[in-house]
């Protein structure tokens, strides 16, 4: 009996000892407590299956527009397998590495980066999402993303990170650290807003080839021209990565625009290009609001080779700002396609006036006459030397002193309407633009 009591006592002591620790010892997988957590659901498109495990990775980019060639990829080695939809969580435990950060610029201090949550199939089983060198093999297959590459008008989610001042073009409510930003279009307007991390972020495991561009190391992006070299502006929207496009898909690249330049007549235009991912298509029948859009085999655009379907109307009567336009395309070998776009609102710069002289030693306020809810305004200031830009949803923006802009130049205000796109790279949209001439003095 005494011996039994002794053993019972020792057992109780053991349990008490092991129960003392609040948290277990960290293993080699420990990444620290989460600074933020993304959660949501992984789902498959109808009729698609996924048998291999699905892993998650957060890819950081310091170029939100190009959004390719991630500067760093943080992976979370939790595999999701079995039946989908499946819920997931992804912990953000560390800031993006320095290589992913870009300076805020425009007089602001600190750095920022953009991140997308990627779902992938680990092709080589190394537990890490492997990037793709230009023209190199695709090792891991990207199955889906919180913000796919070619979805400007669908709802997408990105993680914005800033370690200092908040970039001017970020949506209201953004703060230091991580921000979950929801972007998309609604009611004919594009929008961008900060949402709480409790927001469910869906990821569709569509697995198209174009998703691979999210991890390609193109290395050929020229930030000055905003173009990629090496692969050229080819009919393949991911050709700059040396990756093949998803075959047998008709792609439409088009914009309908209304522009005004002080001292010049306003003009309306429609430009469209069609491709199958390999070659340009020049034998399609294209109509804009029922009007035939003729093909120009050699439009002569240096940065955009290939045949163009285009209409020009310098009188400014082709488009009706705020109206809905329809583009129909009948290309041999492809089903007919109809795109519906919402024309952008017409905008006019109010200050500074045309041909005015402004001092850059003082803050310069640029304002305009239209502030429709949901519009995002792009301000682009070009001096004889220097350049400054901003993106905002308000009706004015202020260029800080000492921006480096000087000499004779211009201020351009641009606003986009709601367009349409697809995951294979198609986009059809509209824009409205107003430009004034200004002289910048120190």
């Amino acid at each position: 009996m005494k011996r039994m009591k002794l053993w019972l006592g020792m057992g109780a002591l053991g349990l008490a000892l092991t129960a003392c620790g609040n948290q277990p010892l960290a293993s080699t997988k420990y990444a620290g407590p989460p600074l933020a957590t993304i959660s949501g659901q992984l789902s498959l498109p109808p009729g698609q299956t996924q048998s291999a495990p699905v892993l998650l990775a957060l890819a950081w980019y310091n170029e939100s527009v190009t959004a390719t060639a991630p500067n760093s990829i943080l992976t979370q080695d939790v595999a999701y397998q079995g039946s989908f939809p499946a819920n997931y969580t992804f912990n953000l435990t560390q800031p993006p590495p320095a290589g992913s950060l870009a300076p805020v610029g425009n007089g602001g201090a600190g750095n920022f980066a953009y991140g997308r949550l990627l779902a992938y199939q680990d092709g080589n089983g190394n537990g890490t999402l492997d990037t793709i060198p230009f023209g190199g093999p695709v090792v891991d297959k990207v199955l889906g993303a919180s913000a796919p590459l070619f979805t400007w008008y669908d709802t997408v989610y990105e993680v914005y990170y800033a370690d200092g001042d908040i970039p001017a073009d970020w949506p209201a409510g953004a703060q230091r650290g991580f921000n979950l930003v929801k972007s998309g279009s609604a009611n004919g307007k594009s929008f961008q807003e900060v949402v709480p991390f409790s927001t469910q972020v869906p990821i569709v495991l569509s697995g198209e080839n174009e998703l691979a561009a999210l991890i390609c190391l193109s290395g050929n992006y020229d930030p000055d021209s905003g173009t990629y070299t090496g692969a050229g502006a080819v009919p393949n929207p991911i050709g700059y990565c040396g990756l093949p496009a998803t075959p047998n898909k008709l792609r439409t690249f088009g914009t309908a625009g209304h522009e005004m330049t002080a001292g010049a007549p306003s003009g309306d235009w429609v430009y469209l290009q069609l491709s199958d991912g390999v070659n340009w298509i020049s034998n399609a029948s294209v109509q804009f609001n029922g009007m035939p859009v003729p093909v120009v085999l050699d439009a002569g655009y240096v940065d955009a080779p290939g045949p163009f379907y285009e209409l020009d109307n310098n009188a400014g009567t082709l488009l009706q700002p705020g109206a809905t336009d329809t583009v129909t395309i009948n290309a041999p070998g492809f089903p007919p396609v109809t795109w519906v776009i919402q024309e952008a609102d017409q905008v006019r710069l109010t200050t500074p006036g045309n041909n005015s002289t402004v001092s850059t030693a003082q803050p310069l306020t640029i304002s305009w006459n239209n502030n429709a809810p949901g519009n995002t305004y792009w301000i682009d200031i070009e001096g004889q030397t220097g350049h400054w830009s901003a993106v905002t949803t308000s009706s004015s923006v202020t260029m800080p002193p000492d921006s480096g802009v000087s000499g004779t130049g211009s201020i351009t205000l641009n606003v986009s309407g709601a367009g349409q796109d697809d995951i294979y790279g198609s986009y059809v949209n509209s824009e409205s633009e107003d430009t004034v001439n200004v002289t910048f003095t120190p």
Partner: protein, 521 residues
Amino acid sequence: MKAAWVFLLGSLVCAAAARAEPTRILLSVGSNLGMPEDHPLHYADADARRFRDLMVELGQVRSSRAYLLEGATATTVRDALTEIRGRVAELRAHGDDVVLLLFLSSHAKAGYAHLKGTLLALSELRELAGGVEAPLRVLILDTCESGVVVRHKGGSRVPGFELKLERLPLHGEVVLSSTGPAESAEDWDSLGSSLFTHYLMTGLRGDADRDGDGRVTLYEAYGYAYRRTVSAAAFASQHPSADIDLAGSGELTLTQPGATGSALDFPGTSEGSFTIVSQPEPNVVLEVDKRAGPPLRLAVPPGRYLVRKKEGAEIGLLSVELPYGGTVVVDEHRMVKRAFTEVSMKGGYVDLKSSTVLAGAQVSTPPILGTGPRWLPFVGYRQSFGLWFVEGDLLATEKHYSSASVAILEKSAHLELTGGYRVVSLPWVPYFAVGLKGSYYEQTYVREQEQQIEATFGVGPIPPRRVLGLNGVVRAGLEIPLPENLLLVGEVQGEVGQLPVQDTNNWNFAAAARVGLGFRF
């Protein structure tokens, strides 16, 4: 009988010519069980084993040439001698000189050895040995009535110079028996041995070395064993006898205690009756009556011993750690005096140094997979209770490693409480122990971008984690005595228990190896 000794003396006078040492082959036979009507012996097998060990240790018998038959039967003895005969023939074919040594400890009666229900005539044994083509054969029979096999052929006085001229190698046959005809051989519990074998081996360990040349010859060994056996046997009822038929030059050296490693040295001034008892298992190893005069060296295997000296109503006690290859001087001035009654009450076991402090280092498998081994210094205390002991050890260490993006500093401290058993019958003492080990772990963390995170997110450092674990421990080790009450320990451990670790089921399996130095006091 006397003539035989004269003959032997004559041959010993001759100096051995320079020639290759003969190859020695030993067959040591023991059988506790005799015939059904015999009371089982307690020490026959043990004596055979001890004699075999002694001859390997001191008698120039290579272990590969030392045959040991415990629980022997007539058949196994015959088989062994047949094998030896073949082996000796091979050696002789290569030109080797061979000496056959045969030791038998068993019941015997009317000229037959009683071997586990079988009978083997001692005369047959002698004939079988004679069939071995060894020029020199030595048979030592520790059995009752073994004297019947001794043929008093005797020898004749031969002038020494004649032998010198011949310079032939020593050859012939020697039979030593522990008893005379119709005499019983005595087994003594207090010695843990038969009387004759005990004194024979005591002599072979050095006490019989009368001329102090570091060698114990056949003559010295027999004379010593004879004297001590006769004087110690109850009513002087046991008289060892010998049948020696030798020719040639040189002397037959049975052991060389002076040339071996570990030994006890008794200074010339030492005088009295000393008993050397192994510790902590109190087996009497040697009993010597030392007289003032030349120093005495007794070859003893490495280990722990208690040297006892009778001093009236008191007993002087000296604890001795005899290292491998080392010698220890028996210094009577360092003896501790204890009452005779105390030593008697404890059955001869008196542990004068039952406490041990230990210090050393341990390497163990990591408690967290992929973080590398842990090196832990330790200190410990052991308290012995005869063959049993309890031990407490304290270990502590720290370890740096990294997880996915976090640098981790792990500090740990451990308290190990174990109890165990020591196998003290070997010169290097194996021990085994089981117990519990309580562990305390603390992890502190620094993220890769710690400063950036704290500045950007307005958070503090990751709080440390502190965890307790409890393991069961199994230890197996070896203790090696060193001089000056020091000892060296080496051991391996296995552990299993509970330790909360992320991404595991909290079961902790570990293995460790430890070396340390101890000091007895």
